[in-house]
Amino acid sequence: MSVPRPEVAELIAVRGGSAASARFRLWLTAWIAVTLLLTGGSLIVGTSSIETSLGWLLSPDAQSSVVLWQIRLPRTVGAWFAGALLGLAGGIAQGVFRNPLAEPYLLGTASGAALGVTLSLLAADTAIGGLAWAGQLGLTGAACVGACAAILLTIMLSRGVLETAGLLLSGIVIAFLMSALTSLLLLTRPEMWRVMQVFLLGSTGFIGWSSALLLGIVFLVCLVPSTLFARGLDALTLGDDTAQSLGLSLPWLRLTLLGVVTLATAAAVGQIGIVGFVGLVAPHLVRQTLKVNHRQLLIGAPLCGGALLQGADLLSRWIIRPAELPVGAVTACIGGVYLVVLLWRRNRDA
């Protein structure tokens, strides 16, 4: 039986339209190209001039190989994965909270990580027995554990995850409490302020192959449930009741997605400290340039976030070479400019 012409057109429309998919694929290709460019750029930018670096690529020696392949490449790859994790976490957070300005640090992760780092530094410095675990974990582990603890406390405080407003509120409370505790602890050891400042401003300086690998694994682990449950986020946009009537279990969905956000954010924060704006700008940027459903968003946001952080890392190494800016300061500038442009355009259109 031959299918009549209108049927075919309807089918295509119902399937989501070829134009939209083509646009998305083009967008993806563009960002992949940007990523490759940035990776290449990262190899030649650093404490040596560009010409020297290019020379190294062509005729490598022992020391330049170390610089290129042990320092610069893992650093940019790790930065990409960290940015991708933050972008993914931001995209999910924006979906779960149905707020385009949500970001991964909303549930107190940043303050929790800072507290973890403080406890770890204290443990290394003093002989307080109870803190030995913090010292054992090292800064990375402590930051991770702190971030996870913060989210757990937030969820416990809000007594269940059904109400997003409640979650946000308890996130703010936990963030404040942990910040206060961190400040109090730092008062006893003021010389740790500088270490904390470095942590709070973020640094991609010491990402080696082991860190990059860890970040990569966590990214893949987070990507799988995200793309699987992306439709759930789509359903959530219709409203809690409608989503429930479609057969979704809201508590489980939220718990799983928040678990992914926790894991992604904690891993990123553990390795690079608290780098702001990437988790906010990446998904937001995707939505501004393209209209997407959540499955596409949760693929596009990591790509965008990864490239953003790679670019920020590159800039931080290049602007005042051979000294280095904290990467969080660079992302703050980028994020700030982006938001200002957004506001300006909005006011202009209004």
Binding site: T47, Q70, R72, V198
Partner: protein
């Protein structure tokens, strides 16, 4: 007409008295000095109740023999042992104004970067700000404090001692190195923040005949790209003890000669204090640096 003996004696007594009284008079004369914030500070006489909010200034005051005049210090001043018993008036940025005012000091010594100077001024307390950051500041601080405390000769002597000691240590270190200048990297913080040659520590290291892998144009305490250290391959690395164990974990650092051959220098907290405080103990600090260099230099 020639002066007779009685008149000569009388004159001598008068002159003697005048001369005798003069130092006391000079001592009692009001001082007006300009501090490092550009403020004019007037003192009626040498202050008898002093509060010092900077460890190096505490040590200098004590080295000038005026330790008994100190009524309080900041929480970081821990040398000499006598000051440990004094009340602590807070830290660099959180000095306790109430405590300070309650002790009714004649003078508060602090660093240029402390915010409390205006507050103290409003409350009518004399505050003297000194910028003690460089090696050259040591001599200047000592002289200034000598003038303020009314012991200029002791100050001169102290300066002399410090200079001689520093020269001696420097010469000995250079001789020991047989003219070879080791390249050094001094890590202040694990970010990594390095001590540049224009910082106080950097100056000490230069006097010991080493050369810093950090160049002067990068500033006093630049935050480096870790790659920089790998590329410049220092002979000796000065680093905190806690970080020394994990240096090889930093990407690419296992290739640095100093890391491979364990040419690392770490200091205990009290020794570290001597190195970072631009005060009278600088020779001891420098000696610690020199000893370690002699031990681990290639």
């Amino acid at each position: 007409m020639p002066l007779d003996l009685a008149q000569c004696l009388g004159l001598a007594v008068c002159l003697g008295t005048l001369l005798g009284l003069c130092p006391a008079a000079c001592r009692a004369a009001p001082l007006q000095l300009r501090d490092d914030l550009g403020r004019e500070v007037r003192l009626a006489g040498p202050p008898q109740r002093i509060i010092s909010l900077l460890p190096s200034l505490t040590e200098t005051v004590c080295a000038l023999g005026a330790c008994d005049r100190l009524v309080a210090t900041d929480r970081f001043s821990d040398f000499p042992a006598a000051v440990a018993a004094l009340p602590k008036a807070g830290g660099l940025d959180d000095a306790e104004v109430e405590l300070i005012v309650g002790l009714k000091p004649d003078l508060v010594l602090l660093s240029r970067s402390q915010r409390i100077t205006d507050r103290l001024g409003e409350l009518g307390i004399a505050a003297f700000a000194l910028n003690s950051a460089r090696y050259a500041d040591i001599a200047r601080d000592v002289t200034l404090l000598g003038t303020i405390l009314g012991v200029p000769d002791r100050a001169a002597a102290l300066n002399e001692n410090i200079q001689t000691a520093v020269q001696a240590i420097g010469t000995q270190a250079r001789e020991h190195a047989h003219g070879r200048s080791a390249s050094v990297y001094f890590e202040v913080d694990r970010a990594p923040y390095a001590a540049g040659p224009s910082s106080f520590i950097g100056e000490l290291l230069t006097r010991l005949g080493t050369h810093n892998i950090v160049t002067a144009d990068l500033g006093e305490f630049p935050k480096l790209n870790p790659e920089y250290v790998v590329r410049h391959d220092p002979d000796v690395i000065f680093i905190a003890a806690a970080d020394a164990a994990h240096l090889a974990d930093r990407p690419g650092w296992s290739e640095i000669r100093a890391v491979k051959e364990r040419r690392l220098c770490s200091f205990a907290r009290d020794v570290d204090d001597m190195i970072v405080r631009p005060g009278p103990r600088v020779p001891a600090g420098m000696q610690a640096l020199a000893d370690c260099l002699a031990r681990v230099s290639p």
